[in-house]
Symmetry: C2
Amino acid sequence: MAVITGLDVVDVRFPTSRDLDGSDAMHTDPDYSAAYVTMCTDDGGAEGAGNGYGLVFTIGRGNDVEVAAIRALETHVVGRPVPDSPELLADLYRRLVGDSQLRWLGPEKGVMHMAIGAVVNAAWDLASRRAGLPLWQYIASLTPAQLVEQIDFRYLTDALTPDEALEILRRAEPGRSERAERLLERGYPAYTTSAGWLGYDDAKVERLAREAVADGFTLIKLKVGADCADDERRLRIVRDAVGPDIELAIDANQRWDVGDAIDWVRRLAPYGVRWIEEPTSPDDVLGMATIARAVAPIEVATGEHVQNRVIFKQLLQAEAISVLQLDACRVGGVNENLAILVLAAKFGVPVCPHAGGVGLCELVQHLAMADYVAISGKQDRRVIEFVDHLHEHFVDPVSVIGGHYVAPTTPGFGARMHADSIARFRFPDGPEWVS
Amino acid sequence: MAVITGLDVVDVRFPTSRDLDGSDAMHTDPDYSAAYVTMCTDDGGAEGAGNGYGLVFTIGRGNDVEVAAIRALETHVVGRPVPDSPELLADLYRRLVGDSQLRWLGPEKGVMHMAIGAVVNAAWDLASRRAGLPLWQYIASLTPAQLVEQIDFRYLTDALTPDEALEILRRAEPGRSERAERLLERGYPAYTTSAGWLGYDDAKVERLAREAVADGFTLIKLKVGADCADDERRLRIVRDAVGPDIELAIDANQRWDVGDAIDWVRRLAPYGVRWIEEPTSPDDVLGMATIARAVAPIEVATGEHVQNRVIFKQLLQAEAISVLQLDACRVGGVNENLAILVLAAKFGVPVCPHAGGVGLCELVQHLAMADYVAISGKQDRRVIEFVDHLHEHFVDPVSVIGGHYVAPTTPGFGARMHADSIARFRFPDGPEWVS
C-alpha cells in the first residue's frame, strides 16, 4: 500500500509591500506569503507529479507560525495511506479536525485551522492529480452521497441536515456534463480588484479602471475605508471613467464599527455600488445583519476572514450577507468548503470567492466551477475575484481572458509552485531576502 | 530607561491524561500544558522578581505552535520600555493586536491571539509586581479613565461606547475600598468541577461530590454529553448524595448540535440544574440563543472557548447567555478581559470565570476580584471555577478554604511557576517525558 512519507513545509514570502500592491485600510503593507506544503509519497513518481501540494496564504509575519502549525499535523498524516479516494479524503479531514488536543487551539479557527486546510487541500490536489482531473472536475465526478460524506455536519443541523444536502446535490446531478461543457467553452466570469488598492494614486486608479473595462471586466472593486472624502473622489473618478454599465463594488476590509459602516456606505451609494465587502469584523454576525438591513439594496459581502462553517451558517440564517465570499485557505480545506457551498445553495446566496494574494486565484476557481457544475448549478450573479499578481510562480497559473477565468484542464488543484520560485523567495534565507 | 531584553518561552506539559483528570465529552485525554513566557528585563532584580510571567494554557499537542506564536511577537516587545504604567500597558496591547501582517492569522482569534494574551498578561504581571500589588488590587488602583484607556472599542460601539464604559466604571468607584476589605476578609465563592470528570466511575463521582459539600462548596459541576442515560444516572447519584440545597451545573463541552442540546437538557432538567455550559459550538451565537430560549429557566453559560470580545458582545446582545465564563488565556489578555467585564456589567450578566487546567485558577481569581471591587461592584450569583490540580507548580498557588478563594496578597498575576517544575516537565526533553 502506498503511504504518505512526509509533509515538506517551506516559508515562502514575496516582498509585495515595496509597491503597496494589496494595500487596504487594515493591511497597509502586506508581503504576500505562503506556508507551502508538499504531501510527499513513496509512489509520487517522476518530479513529484503524484504528490499533493497546498498552501496557507498569509501576508508576511506569522508565516513561520503557520509552518509550525502544519508540522504539528505530521502525526496524523505521515505513514498513513495515500488519500486517493473519497473515503480516504473524508477520513483524513475527520482525523485532522478531530484531534482532541489540537482542537483546544481553535476549535476550527485561526492558525491551526488554516494549517489543517492546507494539508486537506494538498490531499485533494493529490487525489485529483492521480485521477487525471482538474479538481473542479474531480469534485464533479463524485456522487451526491460521496460529496455528503465529505461534510462534517456537526453544528450545522439546525440549518442543513445530511438529507437536505443530499437532496440539493441530487437536484444538481442532471445537467452536470452540459454545464461542464459550457464552462470549458466560455469560462467563468471574473471581476478585478487590481485597479483599486488603497496605496495607488488617482491617476493610476483611473488608468487601471479603463484598462479593466477594455480587458472585458464588468465588475471592478475598490478599496475604501481610510478616508471618506478620498473614497468619494476615487469612486467618482472610476464611475466617470467606466460609465454607468460597469458594476462597482467596495471593500472596507473590516475597518468600521456598525454605525460608521452604515453612514459611510450611504455616502458612497450615489456612485452606484453593488456590494460593500467586509464592512466590519468578520465575527460580527449580528452587526453585519444590522448593516445589511440599513444599506439595502446595496448588498453585504463577506467571507475571506470567516473562520469556519459555523459563522457562515449564522450569516446565512441572519440574512446578513447577499454575497458569500469563501476562501480556499481560511477554513478546513475542500471538505469544509463543500459544506459552505451546500449551505449557500440551500439559502440561495451566490458564492463569489475571495482571491488574490498568492495562489488564491489558482485555487478558488476550482471551487466556483465545482459549485456551478455539481452543487448550486447556477452561475448568475456569481463572479470570481481576480488580481493579476504572482501567477508566474505557479506551475499551472490561471488564465483570465476577456474578463473570464478559462476553465483549467490540467490535473490537480493548482497550488504547485515552481521549484526556483520557492528557492528564490524562501524566508529568510532565499536570495530575495538575503540581499 | 529600563527595557525588555527578551521573551523566554518554554513548552511545559503535564501528563494528566494518564489518570483521565480533565476528561470531557470532547477532550478525552488532555495533557494539561503551558506555553510559558517570561518577559525578561534589564532591571528585573534578584531571581527575576521584577520580570513578567504569563502562559497560554493548552491540552497537549499544539503547545509547540503556541511557543512559535509567542516568539513571533518578539519584534513588538524586545527593546521596548518596561511596561510598568497604565499608558505603557495600553500601548503594548495596541501594538500587539494592531500588527497589520499578524492580524491576517486571526484576526483576534486562535493561536495568535492566545499568544498575544500571554504576553499582555505577562506585562500586567510585571506592572503589578513592580507596584507591589496583586493584580486585582492593581486594577482597582487605576482610575476609571485609565481603565477605559485599556480597552479597544473597535467593533464594540454598537453595544458599548467609551462614554458608557466610563459611566459604568465611575458608578463602581464609591465603595471600592469597602469591597476590597470584604474580599480580604471573606474571600470569593468558588465552585468545583473536580468531582465530575467524564472518565471517573460512579463511586468516585459520588465520593468526590460528598467531599465537595463537606469542603464548603455550594455548586458542583458535572461533565455530560457522551451518553444521556449515563448522564441521568450520574446526576441522580450526585443529587441524592448532596441533597436539594446544593446547586448543580452541567457542562457539555460543545458536544451537541442545537436540537440535541435542547432535548438532552430537558431530560436532565428534573435533577435540578442551574446552568448548561457550552451546549454547542462557542461560535454559534444564534444557536446558543435558540437553546437559551428553549431551556429557560436553566441558564446557558459559555466563554472558555469564546475567541474575543466581538463574540461575547453578540452573546450578550442576543440574550444567549446568562452566565459569562471568561478565560484568562483565551483572549487578548487583561486588556480584552477588561472590555468583556465592562460589557457584562452593561448587560447585567454575572461573570463566573472558567478555571482549571494549569494556572487558570491562579490567574482568573484576579479578574473576578477586580470585577467585584472596581467594575460590576457585584458578587451575587458569581462564582469562580475551582479544580484542584497542578497548583503545586506555582510560586503563588491559589488557596481555597471553605468553598472560597482566599484573596491573594502577593504582588503579581500568579502565573509564575517553580523553576524545578519547568525543568522537570519541559517537553520533550524534561525528565518526566524522557522516561
